[in-house]
């Protein structure tokens, strides 16, 4: 009996006073999360001590090569971005979404629901529904709830989450279903034009990438094919995210 009463009481508290309770718990949890990061940081590269010199040399050479090729790509990217913005300006469509950087306090696998806790809240002009980016053009989710100095971010890839996104190559609009961990799935008729490597973007003026197709599963006996997508960057490897500021 006590258990049931407590269950009802706690559920009602969460339902009616959710944001207040969340605010109290976030302020209690924040020092623990920060201390954990400081304490674990020195041990994060502990396995590198056991690598051989040869493998480190090979990795170093590979990374140098990759770095120089990426530098060239960055130059191209900057040129194209400024050209794209100029064209939009000439057409009278200015994409002036303001973003703020925020530190991730807690993320999966610590959170069971594919959600992030970040250290920016109402005071930083973050509001419910603000888009969250992992880089300039990769959007990963939206703000689900906000307290004064923290926010809860739900990933588009959260299990069961369904949202309509645009296939960049053809402009086709399809509903992706979240599978958790930055993965998505979609089932479409076999003759739908979606191929390996295709990019899906968030509907809007600027192309905000949501995910890339990495596997297409077809079956001779089925008239549908299943398409698997994932976010281009490892969502859980990042320490910072960028949040679109609420327009005032």
């Amino acid at each position: 009996m006590v258990v049931v009463v407590l269950f009802v009481f706690l559920s009602a508290t969460l339902y009616f006073l959710g944001s207040n309770v969340r605010g109290i718990f976030y302020s209690t949890a924040k020092p623990v999360w920060k201390a954990e990061e400081v304490l674990l940081k020195p041990f994060s590269f502990i396995f590198n001590f056991f690598q051989t010199k040869n493998s480190l040399i090979a990795e170093n050479i590979f990374l140098k090569d990759e770095n120089s090729s990426l530098r060239l790509k960055v130059t191209d990217y900057e040129n194209l971005t400024s050209e794209n913005n100029d064209l939009k300006n000439q057409l009278g469509r200015i994409d002036n979404a303001d973003k703020i950087i925020s530190r991730i306090l807690s993320k999966p696998p610590f959170s069971p629901y594919d959600t992030f806790v970040i250290d920016a809240g109402e005071r930083d002009s973050v509001s419910v529904g603000s888009k969250v980016f992992i880089s300039d053009s990769i959007v990963i989710g939206t703000v689900k709830s906000v307290t004064g100095s923290t926010s809860l971010v739900e990933l588009f890839s959260s299990g069961g989450f369904k949202h309509e996104f645009i296939l960049l190559r053809t402009g086709l609009s399809l509903t992706l279903e979240g599978q958790g961990g930055g993965n998505f799935k979609i089932e479409v008729p076999k003759d739908t034009d979606v191929v390996w490597g295709d990019t899906f973007v968030y509907p809007g003026l600027s192309s905000q990438i949501v995910g890339n197709v990495y596997f297409v599963e077809t079956n001779d006996q089925s008239s549908f094919k299943t398409i698997y997508l994932r976010t281009p960057l490892n969502v859980f490897g990042s320490k910072y995210v960028f949040i679109e500021k609420a327009s005032i």
Partner: protein, 84 residues
């Protein structure tokens, strides 16, 4: 080992661990504590904590809290049956 002091100390230690360990480790830990202690009501608080921190929906059913309640009821029932 099951003194009120031990139970209080374990509550604070578990609180820190739930915040800093992956959720499945916390889940196993909470399950073990529910089995170890008699009528471990604290598990409801930890379910409540997980839902407040990470579950953004406004709904009537909160997953962690519900699972914690069901687990506590089942474990308490089984423990009572084993004793009698």
């Amino acid at each position: 080992m099951k003194t009120p002091l031990a139970r209080t100390a374990s509550f604070f230690v578990t609180f820190v661990l739930v915040l800093s360990l992956p959720w499945w480790v916390s889940a196993v830990l909470l399950l073990l504590l529910t089995i170890y202690f008699d009528f471990y009501l604290e598990v409801l608080f930890f379910g409540f904590l997980l839902d407040s921190l990470y579950f953004g929906e406004k709904t009537y059913i909160y997953p962690s809290l519900t699972i914690a309640t069901i687990s506590l009821l089942i474990i308490s029932f089984v423990k009572t049956r084993i004793r009698t």
